[in-house]
Symmetry: D3
Subunit: 136 residues, 6 copies
């Protein structure tokens, strides 16, 4: 159960500001499916618009990182932040963008290994190597 009202899509779209975003989501994704996060965010059309515009710019626009890689990075962050819904929705998005079973298994192996060394490094409090410095 949610901590905010979860209006149906039809109910939420009665607000034109919400409908405009929903329509843009449908057009951008070439799909009629509007997932639950948008029903929750529709309680605050202004916040919903800001979030959608960022997702459209960062995730949907062609750029120097390919769409599947973007989803895998998103999954990595969502896993480390323990966001169950986000892991589910971006795993689905990654599969829709062509992630194979082999790639999913490798993604999980990388995430698990990173978490292991993150915790080892924090437990040992390893000091920085000067070699990592960025030259200005």
């Amino acid at each position: 159960m949610a901590t905010v009202k979860m209006p149906s899509i039809a109910e939420a779209e009665k607000n034109p500001a919400v409908k405009a975003v929903f329509d843009d989501i449908r057009a951008t994704r070439k799909s009629d499916f509007i997932n639950n996060i948008w029903r929750g965010l529709s309680n605050s059309p202004e916040l919903m618009k800001r979030i959608w515009e960022q997702i459209k710019t960062v995730m949907a626009k062609p750029s120097s990182i390919d769409p599947l890689t973007k989803e895998m990075i998103y999954i990595a962050v969502s896993t480390a932040n323990s966001c169950s819904y986000c892991v589910h929705s971006h795993m689905a998005a990654a599969r829709a963008k062509g992630m194979t079973d082999e790639q999913q298994a490798e993604l999980m192996a990388i995430i698990g290994l990173a978490a292991q060394t993150n915790h080892l490094v924090t437990a040992m409090q390893i000091p920085l190597d000067p070699e990592f410095e960025v030259k200005s």
Copy 2:
């Protein structure tokens, strides 16, 4: 300062089990540079070997995810886990594997956006869409 002894490379290599791993790191990476995490892990040669073997298998072996993408996923996890050393070392590795300034900026944009939606979803406790279900 570390919570474990940080022997010099020369000192650590006196242990043949440590030297064997260091030599494999050098050969695999085609570089003489051994960064600080390995000095810390050399206190426990058995643990060091397990970590290195995983890194070699997961990060260094050709596979279905390209080497730069692997580093970006690693950075994403390390950022969400607040591991300063890990962020530094894998940013350096990503640059060494060809990450451009533009890709680095995009990587950060994805990480930041994911964190934002992770927290929004958790605050709203959005319920799962049945559409995300994996068919067995």
Copy 3:
């Protein structure tokens, strides 16, 4: 399902030490409702008493931060720590203390934005400005 026994309120109150705390919760909150965390904590009356005394002192006593603000800070921490139950219970408490839909939407916007800049700062490893120093 819980990892500890979840006695009913009636069963838990058979222990006088538990009943004393439950009675104080009811009196302080002017409500008969005892939520599930207290059933779980009743397995360890000593720990339960310490937690309740802190909540009573920090959250229920009039002080320099108003009661609704306290709940919003609590929600912020609980969200970042991915505690679903805590997000739910303190959202309910915030609404009971007068949080409007508009304030809830703003609270979520702040939490999401903070998470985004937290992750950006960690990814960039921004050095501290000396201007932030506290003068002793």
Copy 4:
């Protein structure tokens, strides 16, 4: 040390897109001080603009949550996300907006207590009370 170039303010402002944001920061905050996060973000003017516009909208615009409360919520998230720089910069902002020593001490008490109950609830895996349900 940072993982991105940290240009001086003067150097960064040579880019008109950066200068426009810096000027808006100065005008909005009525201060000439541009803190380090903006130097880091100036490597990606587009991302910097998106972050600034969110901060301006969420944190700087008069709204239903007062400015000091906003900073305290920001500090709460930043603490739970272990972002040292963010804790410093928003503690400084909170003091600039009038946070007293007493309020700071209470803020810390709330953050610490929330973290404690977050972890207790997660360790006990307390089930949700139906009373917390939001009525649609």
Copy 5:
């Protein structure tokens, strides 16, 4: 619902590499019960083998930390990382290894207290005492 296929034990064991690990789990644990994580990991027999070998070495082999203490440390990490399944499975393992109700209550008290001081220290940004330095 999972983000990976969850084959039944019988189905998963048709792969001899999976069966070999399952058999070793049964022999090591002297029990026929194979819990769900192994069904999920069986999608990637190589990753499953690496995880099992680590668990066998770290958790199941007699060593300088007793088996119950190992489980309590595991629970502590899993709680702080908000892994509900992991908290459940290692609580069950700890009880199977003799954890009493009193010890469980104390474990939770330590976890909660550590979380509280972790957050207080991060909010205050306490500088390191030189006395904590490890002598090389």
Copy 6:
């Protein structure tokens, strides 16, 4: 640098409420060393007293978990919460209570392994086994 004033021990002890706690710390620990967290907490004697009383009860009183195990659990939580100061101070405490190099290496191996499986489980969203249920 800290976000709160860091008075010297002598300065802090001018407040009798602070001195009383400091004296109890010295007597309980049989040592004159007062580490930095107490200087920071002395800004709020009431909060400091609550924290000390919990530490004294949970960590210093003989109980069903031995003192070294308690410190290792504390380190595990502090590592997962990325609290550098806490990792340092409790590693020092663990060594003072007899933690050997071998035990420290094992502690780190357990923490790292737990983090790895925590992240794998979250990425796979493994459903709970009914076998883990606690019988009421």
